[in-house]
């Protein structure tokens, strides 16, 4: 059975194999994005003692499909004085990097579209390109609210990228590799979840995740959108499908940041019970399930933040990025350097 499937798979031309792999990754991401919007509305609803959407389908389960249909049917309005070409290019530029980065994500040992050596660097490069979509959209709309949103977003992303980059430098020092699969394997050990990098790199874990929230322009860092100050920020002029693409990109980025945090700090597909007394009982669970569970946990944090914290003021965002996160990361580079040199068990022996 498996042999037959393998023969068929190998008979397919290589280019088609790659296309099939890409579809197998992108379609579940798009579905997760759709249901993440529903999950967000439900979770925030329950946090605020409401029920949330429950009209479309059983328990509101068809709500994302109804929303998608509604947005697809709406007219796309392009402002008269807008730059038409860039106006349409903006949403594409936000969504594309969010999807392209998935090429190097390992879902299990050996299960990635491309297992490249400079994977971590590639991820950093691709996520940093995403800000162009926001800037182009803000500028091409020819509207002051959109423009203010674009300016805020570019300043914020630049600031938090530095902290993010430094946090990743610490990860690559600890793992000794830029390859995402090797980073996960470096966290493998006898102690289960205590072997993962979140413990020796705890400040980096926090810095990376919060910078990730800031990079995705999510609450409490959503000044680029800031609906109570600048209406909707960079996407105020967008309607219908063009708006929907911004929405998709935001949620795809959230999932991406969660998966990356799970891979770099929470052992990726490794089981938290490896080496403990539960291993014989839970050893049959496939690694992909653990990655999924960790990602879902981090995504829940995203939603929880949004329901809990008020929006940061602009100068507070800058202060947190430059005066708190960057010094913390620089200190931790030294600490981890010493830990690695000293071969401190159980992580670096």
């Amino acid at each position: 059975m498996i042999d037959a499937a393998l023969t068929i798979w190998n008979a397919i031309p290589e280019l088609l194999q790659i296309v099939i792999k890409i579809v197998a990754v992108v379609v579940p991401i798009m579905l997760s994005v759709a249901y993440l919007t529903l999950a967000e509305r439900k979770v925030i609803g329950y946090i605020q003692v409401r029920i949330g959407p429950n009209r479309v389908g059983p328990r509101g389960l068809l709500q994302p499909i109804a929303d998608g249909l509604k947005l697809a049917m709406k007219e796309i309005i392009i402002p008269t004085n807008a730059n038409r070409f860039l106006f349409v290019l903006g949403p594409i530029f936000t969504l594309a990097p969010a999807l392209v980065a998935w090429a190097v994500i390992p879902f299990d040992e050996g299960a990635a579209i491309a297992n490249i050596d400079a994977g971590l660097l590639y991820i950093l490069a691709m996520t940093s390109v995403g800000v162009y979509g926001v800037i182009i959209a803000g500028w091409a709309s020819n509207s002051k609210y959109a423009f203010l949103g674009a300016l805020r977003s570019s300043a914020q992303v630049i600031s938090y990228e530095i902290a993010m980059g430094f946090a990743l430098v610490v990860v690559l020092m600890a793992a000794g590799s830029l390859n995402l699969q090797d980073i996960v394997l470096a966290q493998k050990g006898e102690l289960g979840l205590l072997d993962w990098f979140w413990l020796p790199l705890l400040p980096m874990f926090v810095v990376y995740f919060i910078s990730g929230v800031a990079e995705t322009n999510r609450a409490p860092f959503d000044v680029a959108e800031g609906e109570s100050e600048i209406v909707a920020g960079f996407h105020v002029e967008y309607s219908g499908m063009t708006f929907a693409i911004f929405f998709l990109a935001e949620y795809a980025n959230m999932i991406l940041i969660s998966v990356l945090t799970a891979i770099m700090f929470m052992g990726g597909w490794l089981s938290p019970f490896a080496g403990t007394m539960f291993e014989p009982v839970l050893g049959w669970i496939p690694g992909f399930f653990w990655l999924l569970a960790k990602t879902a946990l981090l995504l829940f944090l995203f939603l929880w933040f949004r329901a809990t914290f008020p929006r940061y003021r602009y100068d507070q965002i800058m202060r947190l990025g430059w005066k708190v996160f960057i010094p913390v990361t620089i200190v931790w580079i030294l600490v981890v350097g010493c830990l690695v040199l000293g071969n401190v068990p159980p992580w670096f022996d």
Binding site: L86, I116, D117, A118, L121, Y122, L124, A125, S128, V129, V131, Y132, I135, I136, W139, F147, A150, L151, S154, A155, V157, I158, E161, L178, D315, Q316, R319
Partner: protein, 203 residues
Amino acid sequence: METLIFYIFSAILIASALAVITVRNPVHAVLFLVLTFFTCAAIWLMMEAEFLAITLVLVYVGAVMVLFLFVVMMLDINISVLREGFVKNAYVGIPVALIVVFELVAVVGSDRFGLDQVPAPLAHAADYSNTKELGRVLYTEYVYAFELAAVVLVVAIIAAIALTMRRRPDSKYQDPSAQVRVRRNDRLRIVKMAAEKKNKASE
């Protein structure tokens, strides 16, 4: 196949580089420069320089050009004014351009570069790590040059900060530690008051 891809990318690279200096709108020029960097990274990737290629995208496209765009978007330029004086400046500009072209040809002309002078690099195996190799060379053979570059950058950072750090009396900066240190008793006084008697007139 590889040659074809190389020529396609080269064509895009040259076209977008030309567009950078010919388009009228400065924002478009910056975006064309982004395209130039991106295609350049793609060509480097074909030459197995994946670390440099991704770093080019990360540093130039992801950070430097975002700041460029940030500044250029806020410019309010009258383009017709910019176009004036083309002939007046041409007397200086054309000789300078010619000198630059001459120097470039002298250094990287076909008698110094090209396949007959420098052989094509050998293709490496799949497990060859460009990043490791680069790091090894950078921290051993070129360590002094590397440290020197780091010192120059630090000096530049300090100079830039020193130039922009000036006292701003109109700045409404709030000291966060002072805000955190505030206690309830500093700001708030709870007063106990006797209940008011019910007023008959208001009934």
